[in-house]
């Protein structure tokens, strides 16, 4: 299919607009994940979404909606729960990851649910987005950008050192909980857009690439967004040009950007060592 023809198709237009917003906003969350070492939380969200989907199917209701609600509820609760139980967020995420999976399988078994249908929640497809998916992607993206813009200095202090953020008199705990909440919501929405297994392409990989070559948090946010947008749109158009799955093409673009960043950093380091 030619590009001009594709641009007239609603499904491609939806994907294009979703990537335009999510490509810019979602990698900002990747900066949180990278800086606060919250990768386990991203995996926990995937399993919590599966449980939500299983509950939805068990009750004969929309599994995607339930997956999103479960992720929203979990991301609201996990921050305070981690503080109350004095368990690190990583440990707590590991606990919930296995617990929710066990509960989901009980529901599959008891409700005679088609397991593949439940797992379908985890395989999103950027080329099959409805209008509500688009609204969700745009709304979440705007929310993320507003949070980062308004709370930049508070976020900067927390990503640098939570103890310092607290000791200078910032409401460190509330902002940290907000970060965890936004992260959970973003992962849930990303799953709907491109699938749980490919969330990292949109959220994490651009931030990893940016971290390698930046010298300030502002740069890191800006480059993460730029890399997210380039890999998102690049992957989308490449998938049309060479007829491969869009999500895989986005990952390939994001990985290529990381490779370029590694090479440019190595080159910079060797120049610095041998002036």
């Amino acid at each position: 299919m030619s590009l001009p023809a594709a641009l007239h198709l609603p499904f491609f237009q939806h994907a294009f607009v979703a990537i335009l917003f999510a490509g810019v906003a979602f990698p900002l969350i990747g900066v949180f994940i990278v800086s606060l070492s919250l990768v386990p939380l991203r995996f926990a969200m995937m399993h919590i979404a599966l449980l939500g989907g299983a509950v939805g199917l068990f009750l004969g209701l929309d599994p995607t909606l339930f997956a999103l609600v479960f992720c929203a509820a979990a991301s609201t609760a996990l921050g305070p729960l981690s503080e109350k139980t004095k368990m690190g967020l990583g440990t707590l995420s590991g606990f919930f990851m296995t617990l929710t999976l066990a509960l989901a399988f009980i529901l599959f078994s008891r409700g005679k649910i088609n397991v593949m249908e439940a797992f379908g929640i985890l395989w999103g497809n950027i080329l099959s987005l409805g209008v509500w998916d688009l609204v969700l992607a745009i709304g979440t993206s705007i929310f993320i950008i507003v949070v980062v813009f308004l709370l930049f200095k508070e976020i900067q202090a927390i990503l640098y050192d939570r103890e310092i953020a607290l000791s200078v008199g910032l409401p460190e705990r509330r902002i940290y909980y907000l970060i965890v909440f936004v992260l959970g919501i973003t992962v849930a929405v990303s799953m709907r857009l491109i699938g749980a297994l490919l969330v990292d392409a949109l959220v994490l990989l651009p931030a990893i690439a940016a971290q390698m070559i930046t010298r300030s948090l502002k740069q890191m946010f800006f480059l993460s967004s730029l890399f997210g947008l380039v890999s998102g749109l690049g992957g989308l158009f490449a998938s049309l040009a060479v007829d491969i799955p869009a999500s895989s093409a986005i990952i390939l673009f994001a990985s290529a950007i990381i490779a370029v960043c590694i090479l440019s950093r190595r080159r910079f380091t060797s120049h610095a060592n041998n002036p």
Binding site: Q156, D161, S167
Partner: protein
């Protein structure tokens, strides 16, 4: 006379093990108080209790005549307590020295507000006082341990608090730098009329600067000077 800092019969346990077993210390306004003790005696814990980042399970913590433990807005009170930790957790985070020092102003600036020209001027002044102004554009992670310690001190000074808590501020410094930084701390303590509480594992080193020295041993604090 009222005290700026008063800890009374403070007990703290960490993971079930008692660390502080009824510590009582007092610091009057403008007083320089040193707390000496061997490694692992709970000196850092004591400072964390004093700035309210760690809650004791019993005892009273009175800061600037207010009960820090039961305070309705501990963050507001914490803005008057500058804290210099022994080391920070910024292994790879990209942050310039000038940004790290400006962070001392963040609590006072207020949430969702941008730093003003005055905040930046106060941060620059703190960098000048601690001798790190030439490194202002460098990343904190690129500095030596001693220079990073000066960044922490500059951030605390930029906070313009009336109480200064120092957790072994000379740990990563060589002998000449230690004297230099202690002279700087001592001078600023007097110029700004601060109440300073410093912990150190070298009592003989802090005695010359302190008005009062407590020895922390077996979870209690004994006044020695």
């Amino acid at each position: 006379m009222h005290h700026s800092v008063e800890l009374f019969d403070v007990h703290v346990s960490i993971e079930g093990s008692p660390v502080l077993r009824g510590v009582t210390i007092e610091a009057k306004p403008c007083e320089f108080v040193a707390i000496a003790g061997a490694n692992g005696t709970g000196k850092t814990t004591l400072l964390k209790v004093t700035n309210g980042t760690l809650a004791p399970y019993s005892g009273r913590v009175i800061v600037l005549h207010e009960d820090l433990i039961n305070h309705p807005n501990p963050n507001a009170l914490r803005r008057e307590i500058a804290f210099v930790p022994q080391k920070t957790n910024h292994h790879r985070f990209p942050l310039r020295v000038e940004e790290a020092v400006l962070m001392g102003r963040y609590g006072k600036i207020g949430i969702m507000r941008r730093p003003t020209r005055e905040d930046r001027a106060l941060a620059a002044d703190a960098m000048r006082l601690t001798g790190i102004l030439p490194f202002a554009r460098k990343l904190v992670r690129e500095l030596s341990g001693g220079e990073q310690q000066k960044v922490s001190l500059a951030r605390a000074l930029a906070q313009q608090a009336s109480i200064l808590l120092l957790d072994e501020p000379t740990t990563y410094l060589d002998a000449p730098s230690r004297s230099e930084i202690m002279e700087t701390i001592h001078r600023i303590h007097h110029e700004r009329e601060l109440t300073t509480v410093m912990v150190s594992h070298e009592p003989e080193w802090v005695e010359q600067y302190a008005d009062k020295v407590y020895l922390l041993k077996d979870g209690v604090a004994l006044l020695t000077q």
